[in-house]
Symmetry: C2
Subunit: 197 residues, 2 copies
């Protein structure tokens, strides 16, 4: 399956590279590419500068479209061209995965209306304003509704990705992948160690 990762200025490092580590090592099953609105190098505030392709190259959707979060989402929710592009690609894609505040961008497209979703704990009150008809779940490591997967903050993107692998290839396959990267996978999407009432 082809995995397209959306990048924008000031994306969150681990939102992207946690899932990339997991999909990336499964070379016979997943091929990763990075995309941005203009292509070329995309930077974030952690000093990371990554080479991307132009998002126009995605003509007919993709198997897996992954949208990270980060401070950049605060600006990008108002970028109508980007939101339109996210909507179009998401509609045509087989699966859409968001990490952290990436769910704010997807919510803004309207595609999460009536669906369950979660996000970063500390940005939650802002995120929900981007999609008032979304069924926001505050206590979740990740959510799955139809073809949409959304994770809680930053590290949770790895648990969600392993959960996705479990759905596609089975629990033992996901456990083996977690073991290979010596990662303590939170297997239950409802087990949230960071939720506070």
């Amino acid at each position: 399956m082809n995995v397209a990762i959306l990048l924008f200025e000031d994306f969150e490092t681990l939102d992207v590279f946690g899932p990339v580590e997991i999909f990336g090592r499964l070379k016979d099953k997943y091929q990763i590419s990075f995309y941005s609105m203009l292509g070329g190098l995309v930077k974030n505030s952690h000093g990371v500068s990554i080479l991307t392709k132009n998002i126009e190259d995605i003509k007919n959707g993709i198997d897996i479209f992954l949208i990270p979060g980060g401070h950049g989402t605060r600006k990008e929710v108002n970028n109508i061209e980007l939101i339109d592009k996210i909507r179009t690609i998401s509609q045509m894609s087989k699966f859409v995965l968001t990490v952290c505040t990436g769910s704010a961008l997807l919510a803004k497209t309207g595609l999460l209306n009536g669906k369950k979703a979660t996000s970063n704990k500390r940005a939650f009150d802002w995120v929900i304003t981007q999609g008032e008809n979304v069924t926001w779940i505050r206590k979740a490591r990740w959510t799955k509704d139809d073809k949409f997967y959304t994770s809680a903050g930053v590290s949770a993107g790895m648990d969600m990705t392993l959960g996705f692998l479990s759905d596609i290839h089975g629990l033992e396959f996901a456990r083996k992948t977690a073991f290979e990267i010596e990662y303590d996978w939170v297997e239950n999407m409802e087990e949230d160690h960071f939720y506070k009432q």
Copy 2:
């Protein structure tokens, strides 16, 4: 403090970007730069292509020198120029951190001789051949000996980096940082969930 991350072809994604997420978000304390032998874009097999500076730019050591692992280390342990450069920079630097098989590269310099170190579980038998006078610890999430920190496989680099923060800024500071990225930090360096006798 300035953090220099060494990159080479086919570095492991999360070995790099786990620590980068943690140091990167502490902008008032840490500044990250990426370096490679020739500078420019460095790729790995996960489709990541990242911009680096030339390692010659590090003239007088650095506060924190971080060496990741990955399949590329199998080739780079025989790259005498790189090993010499790692030795010189490590000698001049305040702290040297390795993740996963990055400890094979550091061991090859001889600087770990007589010191405790660990590495990726699945590559351990190969790694120890790169430094026969190193006190290799098989059961460890990470090790600390003098200025040298070494972690177990991939994800363990995040626990080690949080352990480093704890040593420098205190336990509560490290816990707060882990909480912000919703990461279940393994606080005890001897707690190793992936060791099998």
